[in-house]
């Protein structure tokens, strides 16, 4: 039959209070196996308290070729940052 198991992405929350973070990927026939493999491959040393697995094909990624139009516009908007505003040095609690 020769069909490769699909690719899954693994996200792990290292402890409560932190977000799930991308840890890596693996192959598995279905979600249940992806979860079991994720546990064995990525959490052998208490790295996590929660795992998400999602089939890689469901992830929509931006294309680096579009980085200009996507991310450049934010660069000249210094007024979105607190340091843009000139205030006297002795003003407190601001």
């Amino acid at each position: 039959m020769k069909k490769e198991w699909p690719l899954w992405e693994v996200f792990v929350r290292s402890k409560n209070g932190l977000e799930h973070r991308h840890f890596g990927s693996l192959h598995a026939a279905d979600a249940e196996m992806a979860m079991a493999n994720a546990r064995d491959v990525y959490t052998r040393r208490n790295e996590g308290v929660s795992i998400w697995v999602v089939e890689s094909k469901h992830i929509v990624a931006s294309n680096p070729e579009n980085n200009g139009e996507l991310f450049e516009p934010a660069k000249d908007k210094a007024y979105r940052h607190p340091t843009f505003y000139d205030l006297p040095d002795d003003v407190k609690h601001m």
Partner: protein
């Protein structure tokens, strides 16, 4: 794309690497960068996987439960490290099956060291101490590699692997404190593994044509000879500390250069093993291919089961 456009992209790419920027899978990259990375990462992955074979034989023969759980954990790590590296290579557009096919057909290489046999328990100590020690030196240098997925896999692997070397050294230490026979066994293992471990860093710099390009791309942060020297300088005192003798009559501390001078490496042996004539090349590949072929029905059954379940789910909706 015109030649001038490609040239300009290549210049930008080289500049990014020179600035220590990381390259991620979807970024533009020269085709040679992609191919070189696929080759090196997949060979690295294959080495992890084949590296399980010499040790696997000793899991059921470990002398105590403590040694057994440690070896089992080490071998399991190696399987995991192979998986991290295969995944990293897959981001460059090669499939897992293609990589296995290259390994099984002999097109892709793996570290020659695993073509030597592990004939006594002391070999398990020597492998952890020397082979993992050498691998760690290589891999620490690779944590700063320019290709993001490779560098990230290396960081994880280095974190996990330091116990591998320590457990190996502890095995050697225990043997050297044991009976005369046990001490002799440890020395014998060092005698057999020392030179192949030095060869793990690859050919001498003046005979390694790809080194310059790999250093430029930060696929290598140090040259083969630099890494080999580092390994020798840190390993010789470790041997002395437990009363073992490094099997090199030319080994000598060089006060002026602040490093060890060492004897001539038998590169003919290295190339013989690389070309497939080592003591265990055939045995290793036979084991791999048979595991792959005999597992085919399991992989097929898992996919068939998953397909059936998802069809049932769709019908229910």
């Amino acid at each position: 794309m015109s030649e001038a456009q490609i040239k300009s992209l290549e210049d930008q790419f080289e500049a990014r690497i020179a600035r220590d920027e990381k390259i991620e899978p979807k970024d533009w990259m020269p085709e040679k960068y992609r191919q070189t990375h696929i080759r090196q990462m997949s060979q690295h992955a294959h080495s992890e996987v084949v590296g399980m074979l010499p040790e696997g034989n000793w899991i059921t023969r470990a002398p105590s439960l403590r040694r057994k759980v440690a070896l089992l954990a080490k071998v399991q790590d190696e399987g995991g490290h192979g998986l991290y590296l295969y995944s990293a290579a897959e981001t460059l557009g090669i499939t897992r099956d293609e990589m296995y096919e290259q390994l099984h057909s002999g097109k892709a290489k793996y570290s020659s060291i695993f073509n030597y046999p592990a004939i006594t328990w002391a070999d398990i100590g020597a492998i952890g101490w020397l082979v993992d020690g050498a691998a760690i030196i290589n891999q620490v240098a690779l944590c700063g590699a320019s290709f993001g997925p490779y560098a990230r896999a290396m960081v994880r692997i280095c974190k996990e692997e330091s116990f591998h070397q320590r457990q190996g050294y502890e095995i050697m230490l225990t043997l050297t404190r044991g009976t005369q026979e046990q001490k002799a066994m440890a020395q014998d293992a060092l005698n057999r593994w020392w030179w192949p471990s030095l060869m793990m860093f690859g050919p001498r710099d003046d005979e390694s044509p790809n080194t310059a390009q790999s250093v430029k791309w930060k696929l290598k942060r140090k040259t083969n000879d630099e890494l080999r020297q580092q390994f020798i300088d840190q390993t010789v005192p470790q041997a002395e500390l437990i009363g073992l003798t490094v099997p090199d009559k030319d080994l000598q501390w060089d006060e002026e250069k602040n490093r060890y001078n060492f004897g001539k490496i038998d590169w003919d042996e290295f190339w013989q093993v690389v070309k497939g004539h080592g003591p265990c090349n055939t045995e290793r590949m036979t084991a791999r291919v048979s595991a792959w072929e005999n597992g085919q029905w399991v992989r097929d059954a898992a996919i068939a089961h998953a397909d059936k379940k998802s069809k049932e789910l769709n019908k229910a909706v």
